[in-house]
Symmetry: C2
Subunit: 356 residues, 2 copies
């Protein structure tokens, strides 16, 4: 092992001769050796260290070993942030979620992480609690760090603030909702990946009708869930039923006021609210429930229900793939991908309207 045999050409303080502890600070707290330190330790130029670290060709075996020895010795680890500054990218993406209390967003994150991690990206993440101001603050903070791309769950409100960022080259994909549904006045030219709500509404209502239900309520925000509502209306119309008479925009607390025998809930909180009302013995009694969005332990829940299920992890994966492709140079027009839904019976049996 004859490393350290050649003369050291100390870069800063002139030549040094103590072989073992050349780096002035050792492993002292809070101090990181740099390539410059490695270079002076190994008695080579900065560029040579860079070559070794990057596995570039054209370095003698002996020099390589000397450099590697110095790296080992000093505990050097390249500062990626510095490298990336010079490179012009950050290999970083930002994910803006609604709320971590909603397991769907954790699932989207999982899908994202799988895909983009394999391509060397690290993810910033943050939640907005559906607050437009928080969304803007968080997103712009990520842009200020110069993320290469953004995965945004649009909160209600305008997304105008994103336009300069997108124009500056931040690849952006919306997930879970379209920014239009989120009340955006802007027409944003960005990709989007969302569940096929309309098909979900259609399938759910068709299922209830096939079971014999005629008065079917809809619990949801008519604007935010307008695609689901459109599907609901389509299925009702197709069966010759009128939707308006059946408790459109019902509230969970007034379920018994209307004479509906079944209800479609536009989101998980509303589904849970209905289940709690129905579970209460003083409540309106039996009723068929279909909820948009599956949930944990749904199969153990009583009373039973049907869910319009979609795969949030797939949404994350798809968004990740779209983004990676954009960052690799894909300049095709923006696309909206709707991931398929399916109906799933959960918990105890369903309740047909006439107890048959």
């Amino acid at each position: 092992m004859n490393k350290q045999v050649s003369t050291m050409r100390g870069a800063g303080n002139g030549a040094r001769h103590d072989g073992e502890n050349d780096f002035p600070h050792g492993h002292a707290h809070g101090v990181r050796p740099t390539m410059k330190d490695v270079a002076s330790r190994a008695g080579v130029a900065l560029k040579t260290v860079s070559r070794v670290v990057n596995g570039e060709p054209g370095v003698t075996q002996e020099t390589t070993e000397r450099v590697l020895g110095a790296i080992q010795n000093l505990g050097f680890r390249r500062n990626e942030s510095a490298r990336l500054l010079r490179t012009g990218r950050t290999a970083t993406l930002g994910f803006i979620a609604d709320s971590w209390a909603d397991p769907d967003f954790a699932a989207v994150y999982r899908g994202l992480e799988d895909v983009v991690g394999a391509h060397g990206y690290l993810l910033y993440a943050g939640s907005t609690d559906s607050d437009a101001a928080r969304e803007e603050r968080l997103t712009l903070a990520m842009c200020a760090r110069r993320v290469d791309g953004l995965i945004v769950t649009p909160a209600m409100g305008s997304h105008e603030y994103l336009v300069p960022e997108i124009e500056a080259g931040v690849a952006t994909v919306f997930v879970m909702r379209s920014p239009a549904t989120a009340g955006g006045d802007t027409v944003l030219t960005a990709d989007a990946v969302l569940p096929d709500e309309r098909a979900g509404g259609r399938a759910a209502v068709a299922h209830l009708i096939a079971q014999g239900h005629r008065r079917i309520g809809f619990l949801g925000d008519g604007h935010r869930s307008r695609q689901l509502l459109a599907g609901y209306a389509e299925a009702m119309r197709a069966a010759g039923l009128t939707a308006d008479a059946a408790g459109l925009g019902l509230d969970a607390s007034e379920l018994d006021k209307d004479r509906v025998t079944a209800v479609l809930c536009a989101d998980r909180p509303r589904t849970e609210a209905v289940l709690r009302v129905l579970g209460n013995s003083a409540g309106p009694g039996r009723m068929a429930v279909i909820g948009f969005g599956d949930f944990e332990l749904a199969d153990l829940v009583s009373p039973g229900l049907t869910v319009v299920s979609y795969d949030p992890t797939l949404i994350g994966r798809t968004a990740g793939e779209l983004l990676v492709r954009r960052l690799a140079g894909d300049r095709t027009p923006p696309r909206t991908v709707e991931v398929p839904i399916r109906l799933l019976a959960r918990g105890s049996a369903e309740f047909p309207p006439d107890g048959n």
Copy 2:
């Protein structure tokens, strides 16, 4: 509005006279104006732009306005990554979670985000699926980006790889588990925030005993959940009961083989498995269940159970506060904080052993 009246001293290409579109690239795709661009646009030195951007004193109103005008005009946004490189910190923290499928980690993240976001930190996040190799890869990737701090859920295995990073100054706090419980051979001197498992085990078993149970099973990994197990054993001993006879390390599938009337489950997957077995009519029938860790909709679940509940968001908040304090210079010895637990009845009524 007489901005742009003074002579422009173009930094690079000599003086320019076109007031409106001085920046050569305009808002072209993928190009960001820099401070240098702003400076030449406003006809001032780089340093003056820096002063205005940072709100430093000692700049004339007129100069300030000219600079602000140029900033507005070019759509300039400071590159935080570049600023932070010079500053020596990144204002970034990294969170390593087990799995996003476990809602606890989303809750920890929420708590973290609340606290550290208020201090200007952005969070990198990633999950390991309890795989030691993935944990190491992810953590070191974050360290290579020079995160200021790390919040780590230790997977099983050694955490030796963290020692140089901690020594280099990366503030580190473990959450949910102690690295020791995760099988680490290393004695790591870092903070930790975890649920008080021991108290949880004690309270759970004392509760069951008070209800009349004598044969109480334990479902869990004796190593990973050793604190919970210790609490279990303590409570059994205190009541003069022997733990070993009661099905220690039971498997959910063989619940009926033992003559236990109650069971303590060390984690959510095991709790759910037991509920599924008990929900099955061919199963062992009624049995009191206590699960470590609360879950969504637990109150709607049947059969009923009791949970040892703790607040994962509080764990996140506490870890965040600890970290922020460390980063502000706190050099006191590492601390382990155990957050309190409590027993909660969930779902339908509990089953005392003799049906009384």
